[in-house]
């Protein structure tokens, strides 16, 4: 964030594999997107009966590059610990599909995409903040188009952490016959007031950046890097735990970067945790679009599956045949165990087949992304058990 970033569109120079749909996607807000694109990656092989597909749903700032080196950042895939040959989600056995969400900025339709003109034709101007407010349900309906396009009638599993878990829940509620197993990890059936509050701080940081320019930053070629970086720094704290921060950084100091012109350098040194957060912020703005961040955080905030069903979450799953795994982590205060437990109880009320476990970890919310042996054993075992019941062998 020390260097003024000027790239307005990190994805523009790269073509992501995708499928384009031009038959209209009706959104919850009432708007219809005339055309939309779903960018996705897949791993493994779809079997002849098309019964071994697993949909992996990414979190707020994730993307479709779950299990391979990212083409833009050159970093390992965000879920390489979980997805791959011989991994808990075994690509030697399952066909794993990971789409970029609607509203995202890695090739799926979002604020970076060119807007529809009122007459339905495509313009060469991005949507920006005029991009319709999308919801988790809209994201799932866009993904369903992709799954239909791939000729898959029923997904063996839908799996995701955090916002990915919201999508997994929404999939099971919206398309119960198309989901054999749903695995919402470190997730919830609604976004809590505290979580909305943190998102709002991030959004206000973006709005406060003069380079945001009311969301039309492509006009100047300057992106709201500082605002987006602060949003990321704030959010990143919520993904960790006090214990994880203490273990990782404690109160250790390090010298401020030589080129830093900021007030903090007057003290000659900074805490390691500050440096870490700045790094998180500055790398994030290289790969993520600020308007996408606004759109997707809002989609999470809107999410309340129980409210969509008259206030009783059990009604969302009445009579479901889907098998569920709810998993949470002890140190996760963003999506605490109580929220997974309340989903598990609602599923009990609906008579659903539900497994629920809280896994010990000091890593906070991010634990679902990290090397957590208990989590990985649980995930692998649950999928193996479901495979037996789905007739895919043990």
């Amino acid at each position: 964030m020390d260097q003024p970033a000027t790239r307005a569109d990190p994805a523009a120079s790269f073509s992501h594999s995708h499928v384009a749909f031009d038959d209209g996607l009706a959104l919850e807000c009432g708007t219809t997107l005339r055309r939309h694109t779903v960018a996705f990656r897949s791993y493994g092989t779809l079997n002849a009966a098309r019964t071994n597909a697993i949909l992996v749903c990414h979190a707020l700032t994730g993307d479709q590059y779950a299990a391979e080196r990212h083409p833009l950042t050159d970093k390992p895939g965000w879920w390489e610990a979980v997805v791959g040959p011989g991994k808990p989600v075994d690509t030697g056995r399952f066909f794993v599909i990971c789409p970029n969400v609607l509203g995202g900025c890695m090739g799926s339709t979002g604020p970076l995409s060119n807007r529809d003109a009122p007459d339905g034709s495509e313009t060469d101007e991005p949507w920006g903040t005029d991009f319709p407010p999308v919801t988790i349900r809209d994201m799932v309906r866009a993904q369903k188009r992709l799954i239909d396009h791939l000729g898959i009638a029923r997904l063996f599993a839908v799996l995701g952490g955090s916002m990915g878990g919201m999508q997994a829940l929404q999939w099971a509620a919206l398309y119960p016959d198309s989901v054999f197993a749903a695995l919402p990890i470190a997730s919830a059936s609604y976004h809590s007031a505290q979580n909305i509050a943190f998102h709002e701080v991030g959004r206000q940081a973006i709005f406060a950046d003069p380079d945001w320019q009311n969301g039309q930053y492509w006009r100047s070629g300057r992106i709201p890097a500082r605002g987006l970086a602060v949003a990321r720094m704030c959010a990143h704290i919520t993904y960790l735990s006090e214990e994880a921060l203490t273990l990782k950084f404690g109160r250790r100091l390090q010298n401020a970067p030589k080129d830093s012109t900021e007030a903090i350098s007057l003290f000659g040194e900074m805490f390691e945790v500050e440096s870490y957060l700045r790094h998180q912020g500055s790398t994030f703005v290289q790969r993520f679009d600020a308007n996408s961040y606004l759109t997707i955080t809002r989609a999470m905030d809107y999410f309340d599956l129980g409210a969509d069903c008259g206030g009783d979450l059990a009604m969302a799953f009445k009579g479901t045949k889907t098998r569920f795994l709810l998993a949470s982590f002890t140190s996760d205060w963003l999506f605490p165990t109580a929220e997974s437990r309340s989903v598990a109880r609602a599923l009990n009320r609906a008579g659903a087949n539900v497994s629920f476990v809280e896994l010990p970890s000091d890593k906070g919310h991010d634990a679902f992304l990290l090397d957590e042996p208990d989590f990985h054993r649980t995930l692998a075992g649950f999928l193996r058990g479901c495979a037996v019941h789905a007739g895919l062998g043990g």
Binding site: N353, V357, E358, T378, F382
Partner: protein, 212 residues
């Protein structure tokens, strides 16, 4: 004196009861096993009888073990979580060697027979002759193979006898469809007709109940 690890939850050898309990459950039934441990019984019921068997377990390490074996188990507390199941959701609800460890045994039994058509309940029998003898002879709380923790370390806060349990079923209006007494190894005791003899020589009681 040996210092024992603090006991929060029951540890039990499911293999002992497994065959006896499975013998009371019809093939293909919907079963909920409360306090299922590592899920041995639900695995057994699925593998040998094709049951739709699920479990609740309070000990998170056991839950993790069960789910990692592909078994549908959720972490939960018999005293709290049964109320979240709908009426008649199961054909059988099993409570194996845990009745004496729950906070409110009577309420748990009521929940079991609300969410299930039948309840299978087993518990260690505090009326066994050795338990009685130790209390009488030493004036101290009994310590046997079954009751193997000092009184201040035991999770078994509501011990009862086979006779006590019959009386509770009578009070609550439950029909005892089957019952038997067994020793720690799971072998049936021969006292099928004489409750008082079963209460003296049975190390555990096993009951199949339904509503009247």
């Amino acid at each position: 004196m040996t210092i024992l690890d603090p006991v929060r939850f029951l540890t039990k050898n499911m293999r002992v009861d497994l065959e006896l309990i499975a013998g009371m459950i019809a093939p293909g039934a919907r079963v909920l096993d409360i306090g299922c441990g590592d899920g041995s019984l639900i695995d057994h019921l699925f593998q040998t009888k094709g049951c739709d068997a699920r479990g609740i377990e309070i000990d998170m390490a056991e839950v993790t073990r069960a789910v990692a074996h592909g078994l549908p188990v959720m972490q939960g507390d018999a005293d709290i979580d049964l109320e979240h199941y709908p009426d008649g959701a199961f054909d059988y609800v099993v409570l194996s060697r845990a009745l004496q460890a729950v906070e409110r045994p009577r309420a748990v039994l009521r929940q079991m027979l609300r969410i299930g058509t039948r309840a299978v309940v087993s518990f260690p029998n505090f009326g066994h002759w050795l338990v009685r003898w130790q209390l009488v002879a030493t004036g101290r709380m009994p310590m046997t193979e079954t009751w193997d923790r000092p009184w201040h370390e035991t999770p078994n806060i509501h011990p009862c006898t086979i006779r006590d349990f019959f009386i509770l079923c009578e009070e609550e209006g439950y029909v005892v469809e089957q019952w038997l007494a067994a020793d720690e190894g799971g072998r049936r005791a021969p006292w099928r007709r004489f409750i008082r003899m079963a209460n003296l020589f049975g190390e555990q009681g096993l009951f199949l109940l339904r509503h009247r």
